[in-house]
């Protein structure tokens, strides 16, 4: 018994020591406003915190308190649904694929106050709606090991079909439909295979013909497998390919696949909005957060790190100076306009899921 007591005291003391208290916030125009932000975790959140919250002139200095609700957009939406609309968070970052569901469930505000979002003027028109702004986008395509392809005489791919090759059997990875880029890439494959949003079967047939080894959930897994030679081609966004390249896999090349006569490459968007039931008293801070997110420096930091494409055109221009990214990504407006985007409105994603689940199991 005595020893149990000792053990508890030691452990409790360790716990208290490790607990760090946060300092008091400085006074400012957002004094006392506490907001919660739904976004991804890890360094994605850290970059936002460093550039929007704790930076000089950031939200913390202006008196606001920001906490993060981390998770993928799907997870965060599941939390909102389980909460039946209670404000799990005030600002939410989600994907284009989930956006229409958010609107359907009436979870987001009807209108944003653009007078509080001066940075929004640096965004292209089609990246802004009355109740959302874009936050970044990714260019999805084929990242492949050019050395292995050349060594085995496999022609340079121009579209997904080119990955159907006897020497590539079991050496391709595609994002799982539940991963961030899953729906966008699947939509692109479906379109390239001659299907559309309401008829995904051609895409599933194409995937099965490619003889995929594994569907990735995290790009980091794909990069590890590429490095070890377990796969030779990874369908992902530019960011993971850039990452592998910069970490020493200089044999990696990226292809924006031809989708149809009008489209080359696929993209997916991040959206920012404010949750409907978020209290009015914190709306100023919520807008300030979104504005900070759209700031050139934040956008540049985020993109140069993760390989996403900034929505802020000034940051986009700065990104062109990164040699690896400039080679892999498409940064001109004309090229971006040709990228295929899935039309999620009016389609039932659950039927996509259901068909996918049945088609890909071994």
């Amino acid at each position: 018994m005595h020893s149990l007591l000792k053990l508890s005291v030691v452990a409790a003391a360790a716990g208290v020591l490790m607990m760090s208290a946060s300092g008091p916030a400085a006074a400012g125009d957002l004094d006392g406003q506490e907001i919660k932000v739904c976004t991804w975790g890890g360094s994605w959140r850290d970059i936002q915190r460093d550039n929007v919250v704790t930076n000089p002139g950031g939200l913390e200095e202006r008196g606001a308190t920001v906490t993060f609700v981390t998770g993928s957009p799907q997870d965060n939406m599941a939390k909102l649904i389980a909460a039946r609309g209670q404000p799990v968070c005030d600002v939410i970052e989600i994907l284009d694929a989930t956006w229409d569901q958010m609107v359907e469930l009436d979870f987001v505000v009807d209108e944003l106050d653009f007078s509080l979002l001066p940075n929004a003027k640096h965004l292209a028109d089609w990246q802004i709606g009355k109740n959302f702004t874009g936050s970044w986008f990714t260019q999805e395509g084929i990242c492949y090991n050019a050395e292995k392809f050349a060594e085995h005489g496999i022609p340079t791919p121009t579209t997904y079909k080119d990955l159907i090759h006897p020497k590539l059997e079991g050496l391709i990875q595609i994002p799982d439909i539940t991963s961030g880029g899953g729906l966008a890439n699947f939509g692109g494959i479906v379109k390239a295979a001659g299907g559309d949003e309401n008829n995904v079967k051609p895409g599933l047939d194409l995937i099965n013909a490619m003889n995929v080894k594994k569907f990735w959930k995290r790009g980091s897994e794909g990069v590890t497998l590429l490095e070890n030679g377990d796969i030779w081609a990874l369908i992902s966004h530019v960011g993971w390919c850039m990452r592998g390249h910069k970490a020493g896999q200089t044999y990696l090349k990226f292809v924006h696949p031809i989708i149809d006569d009008e489209h080359v490459g696929v993209n997916k968007f991040g959206f920012l909005s404010i949750v409907k039931n978020s209290p009015m008293e914190v709306r100023a801070a919520a807008h300030a957060y979104i504005n900070g997110y759209l700031d050139e420096e934040t956008q540049f930091q985020m993109s140069s790190r993760a390989g996403t494409i900034p929505v802020n055109v000034n940051a986009q221009a700065r990104l062109a100076q990164d040699p690896v990214l400039a080679e892999m990504a498409v940064l001109d407006a004309e090229g971006i306009a040709k990228e295929y985007r899935v039309r999620y409105k009016g389609i039932d994603i659950t039927t996509w899921n259901d068909q996918w689940n049945r088609a890909v199991t071994q």
Partner: protein
Amino acid sequence: MTASTPLATTASNGTRPQPQRQPGFHFPLAKVSFYGFCSLSYIFLLSPLVVVVGASLHRGSRYTVVKFPPEELSLYWYTQIPDAHWEALTLSFSLAFMASILACIVGIPAALGLVRSNIPVKGLFSSIFRAPLQIPSIVTGVAFLQMYYLFGDLTGIYVNGTFAGLLLGHLFVGIPYVVGTVGAVLQRFDTRLEEAALSLGAGRITTFRRVTLPVIMPGVYAGGLYAFMVSFGDVPISIFLSAPGFVTFPVELFYGMENDFNPSVLASSTLVILFSLGLLLLMQRIVGLENLLRSGGGS
């Protein structure tokens, strides 16, 4: 052997290991193949840890994912561990600690009651205590979250997104382990010891404290350790019950890798390995793992 590297520090503590002659290992071939077979399990369990520790020492760049064996040795990533990891580790540790203590407080009387009472349908009672192990954790997570919202709607007290809410979920899965291990010890307990104490005039509480508790303590430690490990490693329950501003360590890593990969996750995981080694050493100092060993596991 790969397995022995991280363990060497533990071995150097205390007396030197004594070579033991196993009863009945008459020919070395049988002995060697037996130990060889056992070492397979250790290679299987510990080799991924060797990769994690090794890769954490590779300097690389922020774009590196997992490089093993490491090429440029450096402790750089240990200096880059973000605050969020420390906060998550603190939370995970406090949570696992509290969950295991509470699991003991709930589990000990439950085990005593189950083993010693003469209630009918004892099997049913014991299977209800065991049930949390049979519910998939993801279901426990969603179900608890829904329960919290319903409870909140009824009473105005929302425990979702609080430490208490998270703790309750972890306690739920921790209790069966303590009931199991303490129950197992009690099955072998000689009640004549207690009778003797009572007949010598000791009060019921004194008897419990001085006689019963010391005997069942190994079971308590074993059960507490299980509850701690389950709580410390849980992902599916914590995903739903963690809250703004705080997430547990495994959840932090789980989400941290979704959109990006920060090589410092390898460094902080290595620290967890060291931390668990430290925790075991502490337990060894205080209780002696042999005691814990003696009680054995949950069945």
